[in-house]
């Protein structure tokens, strides 16, 4: 139905969509986990916070699983290079995520304060570590990763774990964490009343400006401090996927020039800044629906900015630019892309529909009175 070139672009957009779904839904789950020990002081307060996401965090986490699965299906070399190259970082994300299912499900099964407190800190780790590392990952996508492909298309990573923690990537890690705190606090404020609502409001007021300042800093860093490679020769955009058939110049025109050459791409950073500013302004009001939508738009703009900025690159190699992976030469076959396309077109709306229904059923403020009444059915 679609030619190979078109469906490659469609899939680039779909992966972006799944990444946005992940950032919006897991974003507030992570934030709520990371804020839990600080915004909830008593056990009941903490139970209120946990139960704002208690019934839905598991479904949200599937966005992450799907993101991994979709990249595997659509861009196998990206999946292979990223996960094996960033081995220690990926495993740390995984280990941190281990704390979440057990934290949510086991915490309130025993009424011992030490037990519960321990799980609250486990949920903190499970909420704070992944967004930092995902931020670091995005930072490294921008500066490039030291890897190359050999003649058999086997991927070799030649950097170290600490090489990933370069200053720019660490800044992105902090931005990742701040976004989840901001977004999570907005959601928490939306779903609670009284003292937790107040504390969440204060958190939003603090994290909003901090996030914006760091984003401006990161943008300046990208424009003035980081080079952008450029493709000098490549086969046609519907050629079979083989990343070694192109030539890439290590430093091309730079990131700002890339956006200026494609002015429509500037809509993404505008969306990011606009969304986050509006979210911060609206957060002073109740209800918080507007602020939540705005911060969701903000994070979508952020991811689109990164995606547009990289386009057509998916993974930039900082050591052998010719090995860089692009959406023209690192995709699955035409048939697989088409198959995955139809599966997505059918199932995405179904998933969104029933997810919406579940949220509708479970909606309503979580209050101390409610969690005290339901000690044996709520978390």
């Amino acid at each position: 139905m679609f030619d190979y070139e078109t469906i490659r672009i469609i899939w680039w957009a779909f992966i972006g969509l799944v990444a946005i779904g992940f950032a919006i839904t897991e974003g507030f789950d992570f934030g709520i986990g990371a804020l839990l020990p600080f915004l909830g002081r008593t056990d009941t307060e903490r139970r209120v916070i946990i139960n704002t996401v208690g019934a839905t965090w598991e479904g949200n986490q599937v966005w992450l699983v799907l993101l991994g699965g979709a990249i595997f299906a659509v861009w196998p070399p990206v999946y292979a290079t990223l996960f094996s190259g960033l081995y220690a970082a990926m495993l740390l994300v995984l280990f941190a995520l281990f704390f979440r299912p057990a934290g949510f499900d086991y915490r309130s099964k025993i009424e011992n304060p030490a037990w519960r407190n321990a799980w609250d800190w486990a949920l903190f780790i499970g909420g704070a570590v992944p967004p930092i590392l995902f931020g670091v990952l995005v930072g490294n996508l921008i500066v490039g990763i030291p890897f190359h492909l050999d003649h058999d298309l086997r991927s070799f990573y030649t950097g170290s774990f600490f090489g990933l923690l370069n200053p720019f990537a660490l800044l992105c890690g902090v931005i990742g964490l701040l976004f989840t705190l901001f977004h999570g606090a907005i959601y928490m404020k939306w779903r609670t009343e009284g003292v937790i609502h107040e504390r969440a409001s204060k958190a939003v007021a603090v994290f909003g400006p901090l996030l914006l300042v760091l984003l401006v800093l990161a943008t300046a860093w990208v424009i003035f401090g980081i080079g952008r490679p450029e493709i000098t020769a490549m086969p046609s955009t519907d050629a079979p996927s083989n990343p070694l058939n192109k030539s890439v110049l290590a430093v091309g025109g730079g990131w700002l020039t890339h956006f200026i050459n494609h002015p429509w791409m500037l809509s993404a950073p505008a969306l990011a800044v606009g969304g986050l500013v509006v979210a911060w302004l609206l957060a002073k009001q109740t209800p918080s629906a507007g602020a939540f939508v705005a911060s969701s738009i903000g994070v979508s703009g952020l991811l689109l900015t990164v995606g547009f900025g990289l386009f057509p690159f998916l993974l930039i190699s900082s050591t052998e630019p010719n090995s860089s992976l692009t959406l023209w030469d690192a995709t699955s076959s035409h048939m697989t892309l088409a198959l995955a396309f139809w599966i997505t077109v059918v199932f995405l709306p179904i998933v969104l529909l029933y997810t919406r229904w579940v949220y509708k059923v479970m909606w309503g403020s979580v209050t101390e009175a409610k969690v005290l009444q339901d000690t044996h059915t709520l978390y």
Binding site: T56, S333, T355
Partner: protein, 527 residues
Amino acid sequence: MISGDDVVTLSRLQFGLTALYHFLFVPLTLGLTFILAIMESVYVMTGREVYKDMVKFWGKLFGINFAMGVTTGLTLEFQFGTNWAYYSHYVGDIFGPLLASEGWMAFFLESTFVGLFFFGWDRLSKVQHLTVTWLLALGTSLSALWILIANGWMQHPVGAEFNYETLRMEMVSFADVFFNPVAQVKFVHTVAAGYVTGSMFVLGISSWYLLNNRDIGFARRSFSIASAFGLASVLSVIVLGDESGYTSGETQKMKLAAIEAEWETEKAPASFTLVGIPDQVEEKTHWALKIPFALGLIATRSVDEDVKGLKALREENAERIRSGMVAYGELQRLRAGDKSPETRQRFAEHKANLGYGLLLKKYTNEVTNAGNDLIMKAANDTIPRVAPLFWTFRVMVLSGFTMLFIFGMAFYYCATRVADQKRWLMKMAVWGIPLPWIAAETGWFVAEYGRQPWTISGVLPTHISVSSLSTDQLWFSIAGFVFFYTVLLVIELYLMFKYVRLGPSSLHTGKYFFESGYLPSTRTLAR
């Protein structure tokens, strides 16, 4: 030689550990969700509160288990990329969309509805909640469907071809991949094994309550549902046994011969070696006790077909390696730019055996120049180690038949309404709780260890599937998994035992054993 043997061994060790560990939780999830859906259906149809309590109590245990399933499942999705990067590149075109489909169709379904299952009782009508429970059960089984199609493809890779331009396998027929006979057999066998696990769990714990004379009405009803569902499931597992899939696919035949420790081809009707001592060095089986006709029936469902032995299969594989060497040579020519019709023709003739050529990469990078000694070495590698397969298979089968006996007796005595007088049977059910796990883990071992030296049968050898990692990195991750998984398992078992001991009293309805409203006289009402 692509990477150190240590990296391959450690990667396999890690995959085995994490997959076996994940599989402690998956079968119980598969089975319990269906049992919960059945119990809740009875509740909605009869309106009797005890069935609702059953759903809630067994649901609590399900929840404790489910959390671990989610935790450990994530590992497996990450691990193809982290540890099997070349595999991911080489077969991502087929394997990836199957995993993604699992995400869209199954993970979202089960994970979205599991929250409503626990927290939606007061917010949904009875029928709505029942629907949610059924969707949860459907989601878990759909998840098994997709992952077993993926695994079935690893055992018998149909519907895909090698593309020399992209240097990987690419899908040519999704229908062939989906309706792969090995995958379909595996799916039925594995989900049914999951249902058996759930049933044995409920049957055993209910028996323990009955033996201790507590919560009789609750336990008796749980017991009878588990016995009926368990009997149906265990029959499916045995009758639709996995081995019926062992005739399609070359490696599957090798696996079958290894399970049977059948070194020489058995003339039809092939006999089955019940027990014996397999000897890998002498390539024979000492003290074999054979049952005439049985292997032919199991493997070919007939009495007039041969079942090939290991030595004959090895000879065939040596031939395939020679053909694979030609394919490898032509591939290099194609890649160097020689796309003449003769080269293409020769490559097309031999490319089905390219994977066999890659077996030589373990010993040399000069695949096309390999001598006869290396070819024989590589051919010998295609015979898996027989003794571990021979014994684990027998442990699995023995566990299965023991459970058939337990469920058969339980069902019979339930039907004749004397089950709770048969203390021996209830004791057996309690002690039998580990059986489905033993069967599932040994079954996994037979399927995966038996496929060695391949990750994708006949297509991709295990030793070139791994990532370019160092042993330090692998020790770091293995240490992490062992540490976290041990801690989590201790916690999980502690909670499981705690809630099993509490029983339905943990629901705080006031009606059960440890609560003030408990009336021993419910014993007489129970029936």
